[in-house]
């Protein structure tokens, strides 16, 4: 078995045995079910919560797009935070001297440990997100109405690439910080703040965050953001690989 495969197997064991995989699947599944339900009952929820004799809020009936949009908003907050934590903790071994020695004295290139583990984390997050989206699509089709496959494909492509990118950012932050909790905190803040970039008209055409806001209009409009997200991902992974290789043992761990 190659070193990369052995590392991937360790990551699979980590995800399955630590409960992280179940957590990812459950989180995305939950928002997959709750997003369309929230869209469907939004008029009643708003009516109950805000209506008074003086103020009456009437919400338009839910459209199929609303079901998927509400799912994606939740998935890209709750699910994203968890996915980033999975990516960050895939490198937690380097934050502890004992386990860092275990890996660093056994491989010539640390990328044979780090990249396969990140890849497994990516796959787990994409599978969990896809499951959540599938549930959201089924729920929306059953309860609200039929959605176009173009829209679903656009949301799936945009969101999974965004997930991959933010996980790569978390990976880079961890490689630089080598402290799990601060890395999760910084990466989460970055992941949640990044979507604000698409509010600037000058940037919105190509910023990766447009993947979230513009994905409902179909995959054909996402060329530039996908390209920039892939470039950011590659830079983050490359930077993390260089940083990990350059670092020696943490003496304060």
């Amino acid at each position: 078995m190659s070193a990369s495969l052995a590392s991937a197997r360790v990551e699979i064991r980590r995800l399955t045995r630590s409960g992280l995989l179940i957590g990812l699947l459950a989180t995305f599944a939950f928002v997959g079910l709750s997003g369309p339900a929230l869209a469907l009952y939004m008029p009643e929820i708003l009516g109950t919560a805000t209506n008074t004799d003086q103020l009456i809020i009437e919400a338009a009936p839910a459209t199929p797009d609303d079901g998927i949009t509400l799912f994606n908003q939740s998935a890209m907050q709750l699910g994203l935070i968890l996915a980033v934590a999975v990516a960050v903790t895939s490198m937690a071994w380097d934050a502890r001297t004992g386990s860092s020695i275990y890996y660093r004295t056994r491989v010539t290139h640390l990328s044979t440990v780090t990249i396969p583990r990140l890849t497994v984390a990516w796959i787990a997050a994409i599978v969990a997100y896809s499951l959540g989206l599938l549930l959201a699509v089924v729920m929306t089709n059953l309860a609200i109405g039929r959605i176009s496959s173009d829209m679903v494909l656009g949301v799936w492509a945009g969101s999974t690439i965004y997930l991959v990118m933010t996980m790569a950012i978390g990976f880079l932050v961890m490689a630089l910080a080598r402290r799990t909790a601060p890395a999760i905190a910084v990466a989460t803040i970055l992941a949640l703040v990044l979507p604000l970039l698409s509010q600037f008209p000058a940037l919105s055409a190509w910023t990766p965050t447009t993947l979230l806001t513009g994905s409902t209009s179909g995959v054909q409009h996402l060329g530039l953001p996908i390209l920039s997200a892939l470039i950011v991902t590659a830079l983050c992974v490359g930077g993390a690989t260089l940083s990990t290789a350059k670092h020696s043992l943490r003496r304060d761990a």
Binding site: M1, S2, A3, L5, A6, S7, R9, V10, R13, R14, R17, S18, W93, R96, T97, G98, S99, I101, Y102, Y103, R104, T105, R106, V107, T108, H109, T112, V113, S248, L249, R251
Partner: protein
């Protein structure tokens, strides 16, 4: 990075030095670190590096293992002897793996084929029955054994053990001592320990470091006798029948002092004089001799002596 993947085998160079540390210096902000460290470690022997806490032992091991670069100097390995395995004082593993998986992963990521299988390495370190248990449930002593198993499974040329006994009970210490004694027939072992009685039993050579510098090094016997005075403690079964005046007259080069009726010290002018006069003194005492020991002849005392001499 540690060249664990070197393919040469020990058979190409069956004797000689395993590696040489040549004037290695590594300093950290604040002045800590090691300075001008130099010594040679023999193949198929145990070299102990001893020193007070913070002396720089772990930094030195990290440099030998390729985990830290040296600011200057180098570590030169003998031909075909560059595979280094390092077991830290607190080995840590991913807690969701079983012990067997830790050792199997050790082999797989290093792309090595050792002389043992993972199960055999665990068996050798006394963990054969708990191979299927998750590491999260392991005590510190078990983790130390697992660290050694994960290291020896790689069949390294140089095995570095940082305080291998620190978390073990007396039975565990005896097991690891036996394991080290067996393993030194196959490879160079470098270890550190604060349990100097263990070091005394295990080490062929000793390097004493303090404040990041080598104070002295040599064979264990040389270190044990370094600065030692020719003073013996003699314990008698009954009080001596010989008067102190007779003893003084008969043994002009010996200074005898009675601590109690049955315990005295005999100080000689030199070890050569002692070789001649000690037996004579024992005969003159005319009492059953229970024990004759060279005073301060243990590594603890030698270490204290060497460090004190250094401080002065």
């Amino acid at each position: 990075m540690t060249p664990l993947r070197a393919t040469a085998t020990r058979d190409q160079n069956p004797s000689g030095d395993a590696f040489q540390v040549e004037r290695v210096t590594r300093t950290f902000p604040g002045g800590a670190g090691i300075h001008d460290i130099a010594f040679t470690a023999k193949d198929r022997a145990v070299t102990a590096v001893i020193g007070p806490n913070g002396a720089g032992k772990t930094v030195l091991f990290s440099i030998i293992a390729g985990l830290l670069p040296a600011d200057s100097g180098q570590v030169t390995f003998g031909p075909g002897r560059s595979r280094v395995a390092y077991c830290p004082d607190v080995p840590q593993f991913e807690p969701w793996l079983t012990a067997l998986e830790v050792v199997e992963t050790s082999l797989a990521i290093a792309q090595m084929r050792g002389t043992f299988t993972a199960s055999e390495a665990l068996e050798l370190c006394g963990l054969g029955k708990v191979g299927g248990r998750r590491v999260a449930d392991f005590s510190r002593g078990m983790l130390q054994r697992l660290g050694i198993a994960a290291a020896i499974v790689l069949d390294p040329d140089v095995l570095i053990l940082d305080e291998p006994n620190s978390a073990l009970d007396p039975i565990g210490r005896a097991d690891i001592r036996a394991l080290i004694t067996e393993q030194k027939q196959h490879r160079c072992i470098v270890l550190s320990s604060h349990m100097l009685s263990e070091v005394e039993q295990l080490a062929d050579d000793v390097v004493v470091i303090s404040d990041g510098r080598v104070i002295t090094n040599g064979t264990t016997t040389e270190i044990l006798t370094d600065g030692l005075e020719p003073v013996w403690t003699i314990r008698l079964g009954t009080p001596t029948a010989t008067t102190i005046e007779t003893l003084t007259a008969e043994l002009p080069h010996t200074q005898l002092e009675f601590v109690t009726d049955t315990l005295c010290t005999a100080r000689f002018t030199s070890f050569d004089t002692a070789a001649i006069e000690l037996t004579h003194a024992l005969t003159l005492l005319r009492a059953p001799v229970i024990e004759v020991t060279l005073q301060d002849r243990d590594l603890d005392a030698s270490f204290a002596r060497i460090i004190q001499r250094q401080e002065h």
